[in-house]
């Protein structure tokens, strides 16, 4: 059973690693954020599998922390001025200083 759980953890890590190609290709920063988000969920799943496989009980608490804070990356993306660099869907992000106040 341990070998199966570890194998499943490696498989899930491998698949979400494929998803990281989205971080490379973009095209927009929202797509990169999606890949990071998928990596977050897959990471939690792999963590839980590892925790049960190796019998370390506190690992599920680490997974709890990750799940609790999973949304923060995307929150940072949509607040702040994430749209400034995303609206153009290119890397240069010359949409203007979103934070500077027109006086």
């Amino acid at each position: 059973m341990t070998a199966f759980l570890l194998g499943a953890a490696a498989f899930i890590l491998g698949t979400v690693a494929l998803g990281l190609v989205r971080i490379l290709r973009g095209p927009g920063n929202a797509d990169r954020m999606l890949a990071a988000q998928l990596l977050g969920t897959g990471g939690v799943a792999a963590l839980l599998l590892l925790g049960v496989a190796t019998g370390v009980g506190a690992v599920s608490e680490v997974g709890l922390l990750l799940a609790l804070l999973a949304a923060f990356g995307s929150v940072a993306f949509v607040t702040g001025a994430g749209r400034a660099s995303d609206a153009s869907a290119t890397d240069s992000g010359t949409q203007g200083a979103a934070r500077s106040e027109p006086e």
Partner: protein, 120 residues
């Protein structure tokens, strides 16, 4: 080759990569990111040493944990690294807002500040 040794080699590679980014990337935010990469590599080295030091515990039959001393050092290190990153980022944003550039080089006259910048 055990997993712990692999993580140690990974940490060494992270330090090298971070150092390269710190020197070769012109943007100051990229330098901060690269500096954090170096930091995480160093922390991982501590983690590897802690994991290896835990071997005596396994021999004594009291558990599979690592050596707690390097682990405690890493925990304080992580918090301080976060605080340092926060200062660096704030400094950088202020620099960009007042002088309209995102690098640390100062050899060209700074363009005028963006329209929204308030000056005392």
């Amino acid at each position: 080759m055990s997993g712990t040794t692999l993580f140690g080699l990974c940490a060494a590679a992270l330090v090298g990569l971070g150092l390269y980014g710190l020197i070769c990337q012109p943007g100051a935010l990229r330098k901060i990111l690269a500096f954090n990469l170096i930091g995480s590599g160093v922390f991982l080295l501590f983690g590897v040493i802690a994991q290896r030091g835990g071997g005596v515990l396994a021999l004594a039959g009291t558990g599979a944990d690592g050596d707690p001393v390097p682990q405690a050092l890493v925990i304080t290190g992580l918090v301080v690294a976060f605080a340092a990153t926060a200062i660096a980022v704030t400094l950088l944003v202020r620099l960009a807002e007042t002088s309209a550039r995102g690098t640390l080089e100062g050899d060209e006259p700074a363009p005028p500040a963006p329209a929204g910048e308030r000056r005392p």
